[in-house]
Structures are given as structure tokens and as C-alpha cells.
């Protein structure tokens, strides 16, 4: 710079008009790149870069938000979503429906068996000696005890599993 011949010159004082003239020309007057065009291009580049920066920052911002923010909605994968997933699982639904069906079918079958046995027991009971009733052949089958003791033993026998009847018809 020191060997620059212009550097040794006295500074030339600019007139205000000259200064205005100089400030308005950032570009070479002979170039096709006019000041206006340069300003427009720069503005566009600035806007584009700002847009890209915003787009990048926006994307980055969404990422962090998803990472750290609690979203209580099911769609947002929030606290209720695993309940919903388990509550609407087709496999579990099918399993519960199946066991309900088994319960109902078995329940109906068991009820049929209850009524069947109820009726059968009534028929069997009708064949037995009614309380207090005496039959001559029954006495002999029991081992030959006389009737009054026999009657008592029957009752005791059916009440405690027949041990007394086994014993020979002694009232328990």
C-alpha cells in the first residue's frame, strides 16, 4: 500500500453533490449489474437464506418438541395411547368374546344337567319308601330287625351315610 502513488496525495474534499453521487453508485457504471438489480438480488438471497434458516429451525424445533413435550392425546402418542391400544386389541377382544361364549354354552349345559338330575332324583325318591312307610320286604333286606327300630335306623342311616343301618338297624 505504501508504494501506491495515490496514497501520498492530499485528500480531496468532496462536495455534497459528489458525495451523494458516489454513494448512489455501488457498482461499476459500465457493468450490466446496476445498483437496483444488485439490491434486488441481495434482498432475494437474504429472503431465501432466511427462509431456509427458518425452515431448518422449524424442522429442528418440531423434532425437539416431539421429543420432550407431553402430548396427552391418543393421536399424539400420549399417556392414554397404550390403554387405547390394549383396549382395542383384536386378539384380546376375540379371546374375551370366546371365553364369554364358552361360559354361556357351558352354563346352559350345566343348567340342563341340574334340571335333568333334579327330575331324575324326584323319580328315584318316588320309588323309595316314604318317611314312616313300612314295607315287609324292606325289613328282611336290612338284616331282619323289627320295624319300629327299623324306621328310626332308616332316618339316621340316610342322615349319616347309613352307618347305623350297616350296623344292623340300631337307631343312631
Amino acid at each position: 500500500m505504501s508504494d501506491d502513488p495515490q496514497g501520498e496525495r492530499e485528500p480531496v474534499r468532496e462536495t455534497p453533490a459528489e458525495a451523494r453521487e458516489r454513494q448512489s453508485h455501488y457498482t461499476d457504471p459500465d457493468s450490466r449489474l446496476t445498483d437496483r438489480l444488485a439490491v434486488i438480488i441481495s434482498a432475494l438471497v437474504g429472503l431465501v437464506v432466511t427462509g431456509l434458516a427458518y425452515w431448518w429451525a422449524q424442522g429442528f424445533a418440531i423434532f425437539t418438541e416431539n421429543l420432550y413435550r407431553v402430548q396427552p392425546t391418543i393421536e399424539g402418542g400420549g399417556v392414554g395411547s397404550d390403554w387405547n391400544a390394549g383396549n382395542t386389541d383384536p386378539m384380546l377382544d376375540a379371546m374375551i368374546a370366546l371365553i364369554h361364549a364358552v361360559d354361556v354354552i357351558m352354563g346352559m349345559a350345566i343348567l340342563v344337567f341340574v334340571f335333568l338330575h333334579w327330575a331324575a332324583f324326584r323319580r328315584l325318591a318316588a320309588r323309595m319308601r316314604q318317611p314312616g312307610e313300612r314295607r315287609s320286604d324292606a325289613v328282611a333286606a336290612d338284616g331282619g330287625r323289627s320295624s319300629p327300630a327299623e324306621s328310626g335306623a332308616r332316618q339316621a342311616g340316610s342322615d349319616d351315610g347309613g352307618t347305623d343301618a350297616d350296623n344292623g338297624g340300631e337307631p343312631g
Binding site: D82, W83, N84, A85, G86, N87, D89, L92, D93, M95, I96, I99, H100, V102, D103, V104, M106, G107, I110, L111, F113, V114, F115, L116, H117, W118, A119, A120, F121, R122, R123, L124, A125, R127, M128, R129, Q130, P131, G132, E133, R135, D137, A138, A141, D142, S151, R154, Q155, G157, S158, D159, D160, G161, G162, T163, A165, D166, N167, G168, E170
Partner: protein, 335 residues
């Protein structure tokens, strides 16, 4: 003639049956106090509150695993056990027995099929180890207990099952599944109590499951050649008539109520809104489910009564033996 019918089971079997009954009743009382807590709030309190009832259920559940594994091992390692496995397999006889039971109940058949007959009477040899209902009970128990034990162990730890099945709601589904599985057994056991508690020849309890076969007399009369079971020679208990009707009604109400309750008291899928159960709208269901629990309680009492009868009978046999010895020595005896 006696209402003490032919013995079919060994002492191991009868003791096992009593222990299994006690354990299963405890599981029913605690398990359905949890599932039907709206209707059986008093049972939850009686079993030590919400924590106590779960503890009872878990201890009884472990007991069930011990009993079941013991029984399976015995079935596999003993020749008698392996033989019995064959007799539990259902056959054509059992289907015929079921059909004949329908006919008998409707009055179209004169006798129950030997595979259905509970009171064998004179005909000990014709009656199989298990009736067709007995075989059904064994199979249902086998399948149900296996599934109940697996699902019960799975839901033992809620956090464990959440890690296995990803979500909390699926863990709840397994709890619900476990409860609904037991409903079949709950209904079946009510029928089982009815079947062996109200048979007119055995009322109030059939002793076959409590008296081991080695001390049960195998004869009913000198003359074994009879056409009938000889049930006509037995006298009906004076209380049988109303007892069978009352207990039958209770069993039907109990079965229907737990079935309806299992559908309406569903815990899966978990409702969006908090539903408050109980109240006057559920009064019938509350009464019905409590009747069902009462049926089970009667079953527990009958199971204990059967064992009391067994003790009394064993003591009586011992006394008889002593009396016989005394008679040999010259003393007189009543028997």
C-alpha cells in the same frame, strides 16, 4: 340294604378330594370376592380387605399348583394311576348314559344307565369308577385348572405382564380372562354339590368321595342276584322334599346370576367413563350372586360333614372290632 354305597376310591383319592375341595372353595371365595366386589363387598372385608383377599387367593393358588402337580405325578408314576387314566376317557356308553338320563327324567326309561347311576345298590360291578358326569367333571377340571394356573401366574405381577404384553389394558384383559375362565368351574361346582348332596339315597351327602373303598362294605344283601338297585328298600328322609327343591332353586339362581354377572360386570374392554356399580338396579344380581356363594358355602360344609361322618364311621368300626374281640372272650355284645 344301606344308603352306604359301594366304595370306589382309595384313601389317597378321598383325602385328595377333600383337600382339593377346601382349596378350590378358598379360591372361589377370594377370587369372586375380587371379581364381584360390588355384590360381595362383605366377603372382601371378611377376607381381610383388598390386600388380604389377594393374599388368600395367591396362597390358595399356590396350594392348587401343589395339589395338581402331586396328582398328575401320581397318575403318571403309579400303574393304578395309569389304568385309571384309561377309565376317565369318555366312550359311547357315556353318550348313551346322557341320552338315557334325559329319557329317565322325562319318564321314557325305567332305569338310569349304569354309566349314569350314582346309587349302584346291589349291582356294584355294573357301575363304572366314574359316571358320565364324573368323567365330564374330571375333564373340565383338568382343562380349566391348567388354564387358570397359567393365567393366574401370568397376572401375579401386573408390571411383569405389562412388560410381556406391552400395555396396561392388555394386562387387565388377562385378569378378566382369568375370572371368566373360573366361571365355568364355579357353575360346575354348584351342580356338583347339587348332584352329590341331594341324591335321595345319599341326602344330605354322598359318602363315596369321603369313605375309602377299603372300609366300605361291598355287599348289600346275602342274595346278590337282583334285577334292581334296591333303592325301593331305602326310606326317604322326611326333609328331602323341601331340601331338594330349595337347594335346586338356589343352585339355578346361583348359576344364572354368576353367568349374567360375568357378562355385565365385565372389566375388559375398560370403559371410557367411570361406572359406579351396585345400587338398587343391581339388587337382583346382588342377591343372586350371594345365593351362589351360599351354595358354595353349603358345599364346603357338606365336604366337612362328609369327613365328620367318615371319622364317626371309622370309630364305629373300631368299636365293633373291640366288641367282637370281647365277644370271643365270652362277653355278650349288642351286635
Amino acid at each position: 340294604m344301606t344308603s352306604l354305597d359301594h366304595g370306589k376310591f382309595t384313601r389317597v383319592t378321598t383325602v385328595f378330594h377333600s383337600l382339593l375341595a377346601l382349596d378350590v372353595f378358598l379360591l372361589f371365595f377370594s377370587g369372586y370376592a375380587i371379581m364381584f366386589n360390588d355384590e360381595l363387598w362383605w366377603l372382601v372385608e371378611a377376607l381381610g380387605g383388598s390386600m388380604g383377599v389377594i393374599a388368600v387367593h395367591r396362597v390358595a393358588g399356590l396350594g392348587l399348583i401343589t395339589l395338581t402337580v402331586f396328582w398328575m405325578t401320581l397318575l403318571i408314576i403309579t400303574p393304578g394311576g395309569r389304568d385309571n387314566f384309561g377309565t376317565v376317557l369318555p366312550g359311547r356308553d357315556d353318550v348313551e348314559a346322557a341320552i338315557q338320563d334325559v329319557k329317565f327324567a322325562l319318564g321314557y326309561a325305567d332305569e338310569r344307565h349304569p354309566n349314569a347311576r350314582q346309587f349302584a345298590g346291589y349291582k356294584a360291578d355294573e357301575v363304572p369308577l366314574l359316571s358320565y358326569v364324573g368323567k365330564g367333571v374330571v375333564w373340565i377340571f383338568a382343562v380349566e385348572l391348567t388354564l387358570l394356573m397359567i393365567s393366574g401366574l401370568l397376572i401375579w405381577s401386573k408390571t411383569g405382564i405389562i412388560s410381556l404384553f406391552t400395555t396396561k389394558a392388555s394386562a387387565m384383559a388377562f385378569v378378566a380372562f382369568h375370572g371368566f375362565l373360573g366361571i365355568v368351574m364355579l357353575m360346575g361346582v354348584m351342580f356338583h354339590i347339587f348332584e352329590h348332596g341331594t341324591h335321595p339315597a345319599f341326602y344330605p351327602v354322598e359318602m363315596k368321595a369321603f369313605l375309602p373303598k377299603d372300609i366300605t362294605p361291598e355287599y348289600h344283601a346275602e342274595d346278590e342276584d337282583h334285577d334292581t338297585t334296591g333303592i325301593e328298600d331305602l326310606e326317604l328322609s322326611p326333609t328331602w322334599n323341601w331340601a331338594v327343591n330349595l337347594f335346586g332353586l338356589m343352585v339355578v339362581i346361583g348359576i344364572v346370576s354368576v353367568l349374567v354377572g360375568s357378562i355385565f360386570d365385565e372389566t375388559y374392554p375398560i370403559p371410557r367413563e367411570l361406572t359406579v356399580g351396585g345400587g338398587p338396579t343391581n339388587l337382583l344380581l346382588t342377591i343372586g350372586i350371594n345365593v351362589g356363594i351360599l351354595v358354595l358355602f353349603i358345599g364346603l360344609v357338606l365336604s366337612m360333614y362328609g369327613n365328620v361322618m367318615r371319622r364317626r364311621y371309622e370309630r364305629q368300626l373300631a368299636e365293633e372290632r373291640r366288641a367282637t374281640t370281647a365277644a370271643d372272650g365270652g362277653e355278650t355284645s349288642d351286635d
